[in-house]
Symmetry: C3
Subunit: 289 residues, 3 copies
């Protein structure tokens, strides 16, 4: 890697997220909230509740990582600048006359730009989470991965839980199983930055940040243009699952044993819920075909 | 303000809540619990669970503020005097032979006295919360407002969440939107005491405490006598909402746009809220595009 | 108590839980998870989610006590040895070809051994929780009892809550009322160890640990052999409830007053839920007959 490249990545890794990238993040988050059914009506009925939900959408990741590290979940309220910024964006998006913002946001290039800048903030959040967790637990690399992940992709968990409590959303049994591609990519990034932080990765942090950000933005933009759920990690997942769990699939006969086991041995009440079990079996079979 | 007035308010602001006002607070809270359908039956079937719920009703605000500040939620258990007091009141109210307490409590004057004294404790809780939050974050006036609010009116949130987890209560989508009058008034008080604490209000704390308490008690008693949900903050709310959100309502045509906008720009269908799950699924699909 | 007895109990109380007893605890917990309907299918569809659930089953008690004491809930991730141990057990149990482990576990003697060793770890957890809570609050014996209880039997609460959030489990109103025998016995043990810790019990800790463990194991094994829910604490509960709440049952006429009170005095919305109330009444009546 030559000096100009290093200079480039260093300058990039020193870019301040405030204000422009943060603004993009807030805009994307609040627009996602507004596009939920009934959100606009709620904003008119009870602005306070809508504002609170918007804050959860904007700062959810930080709140989750605070909860996981037993720090005050309200701490995000102390950064008055960010709160003011997010609040004004919420106000403009929800109450702008004739809904100009939404109209402007409905153009694809604008969405691409905003989404791309939001992805940049994701890298910064992951790095911040990993470093922050490391300040708690020197060698707790599992915690570092978890916190980096929570900061980067935890907002969706918080907002889903809020919808659950509000009753807007009824979970099905396998709802939480499907990780979104964002969550998967964030997890990958969190793992990489953690290993980089513990010097198990032979790459400097600013280089990794640059490459990972480009990776994030490329994927996001590609997914938004070609409206197909492109799965960049599919091969990786495939290899992993083949390595870890694949070799048992040579023995289908044992599968059934696995499933029928609960019915036979003792303390589980699988008899009553046999249909569910069967349904899951079927689903699994299809999923693996 | 003359010296006698100052003396009066000072003496008032130095009144100790323990034992009498706290007793009134516990009595009102436990009676509210007992008047829930089936609560008495629960107390007979499983006294421990009923006792736990009663403690949540009595100390819910403190627990919520502890959670929000990442303090041990169990800390309220360390104040043995209060626990003992609340427990004995719970025991007397639920298990007093011939239910004498409930009969005595059914007389309006008794209820008025108890409710009025409970409102007095609310002021003390708000002030305590604001001061406590200020000891964490010097200038975090948003946190101060939130903690004062949580201490003053957070009990209902805790108990609602407990009912939600217990399955006694199914939330509708707009259930959490409607703030009770108590919550609104407590929020107003929390804001006032926060600004007083940060010296943005030209009034001494004891005077504000005195006036706000009188305000609280008057409203509460009036609402209990004239069984009508008198809304003392309606004009204030009206002015605020007119100032903040009213001026868009001159443009009804945009209203529709605001409402129909989500339907048109992609991932949601505000028109058809009935199949929420379908909408969510769709959103998931599109969100990854 | 002679010297050999003291030596025996001392040696026992100094036994290290790691690795064998911990392994037994993990095996029992993960098998309990696997015997839930559909768990095996989930493990194939989304190993990460299954692994997370398994960790909750293995470390739930510690997580709950961390939450209650406002410590980082993720701290259990810092003990890499235990995580590695639990993860490999999860992997073997769920992905062992031809499901050998489950087959081996299906033999009663193996189950008895594992369950017995798991009960031993329960004693250690209770003692650890009580001591840990005491390091926070010197005289907070209520907190000590609660934390000891949470460590010993809190795993089920965490996993139930997880199922609730996942939507696998819908709570009925009286679901949380029924304490399992394990929870009751753990509560008893937590109370005893707390009083022993505060020197209100004239017995040395190692003796109490020895006797309580034998008590736990005996009950567990007996309950597993004679598949009847033997209730060792029934007499104790009976005496207690008779002492505390029994004497009112002499006056059935007052019961009705208790129940009809809510309908008559004011602020409770018992009218809408009259059927529920009536149902509860009936249930209660039968329960008391």
């Amino acid at each position: 890697m030559g000096t100009p490249w290093d200079e480039l990545t260093l300058t990039f890794s020193r870019t301040s997220m405030f204000p422009f990238f943060d603004i993009a993040h807030y805009v994307v988050s609040v627009m996602a909230l507004k596009q939920q059914p009934g959100a606009a009506a709620v904003a008119w009925q009870n602005p306070l509740s809508s504002w609170f939900t918007a804050m959860l959408h904007c700062f959810g990741g930080g709140i989750l990582s605070c909860i996981l590290l037993a720090e005050p979940p309200l701490r995000f309220l102390t950064n008055h600048t960010h709160i003011l910024l997010a609040s004004s964006i919420w106000y403009i998006i929800f109450f702008c006359p004739c809904d100009l913002v939404s109209q402007g946001y409905s153009y694809l290039p604008v969405q691409l730009l905003a989404a791309g800048m939001k992805e940049v903030t994701r890298t910064w959040k992951i790095v911040g989470g990993v470093t922050h967790a490391n300040s708690y637990y020197k060698n707790g690399w599992l915690v570092m991965i978890a916190i980096g992940w929570a900061r980067g992709a935890g907002g969706s968990i918080i907002t889903t839980f809020e919808q659950l409590v509000k009753g807007d959303w009824k979970p099905k049994g396998d709802e939480w199983l499907k990780m979104s591609h964002t969550a998967k990519i964030t997890l990958l990034g969190s793992v990489m930055f953690t290993f980089q932080h513990t010097d198990h990765l032979g790459i400097s942090k600013h280089n990794l940040m640059f490459l990972y950000t480009i990776f994030l933005v490329t994927i996001k933009v590609t997914m938004m243009i070609t409206k197909s759920p492109l799965v960049p990690l599919a091969p990786l997942e495939d290899i992993l699952s083949r390595m870890l769990f694949g070799w048992q699939q040579q023995i289908p006969s044992c599968e059934k044993k696995t499933e029928t086991r609960p019915a036979s041995n003792g303390p589980c009440s699988s008899a009553s819920e046999a249909p569910v079990d069967a349904a899951d079996d079927a689903k699994k079979k299809y999923a693996e075909d």
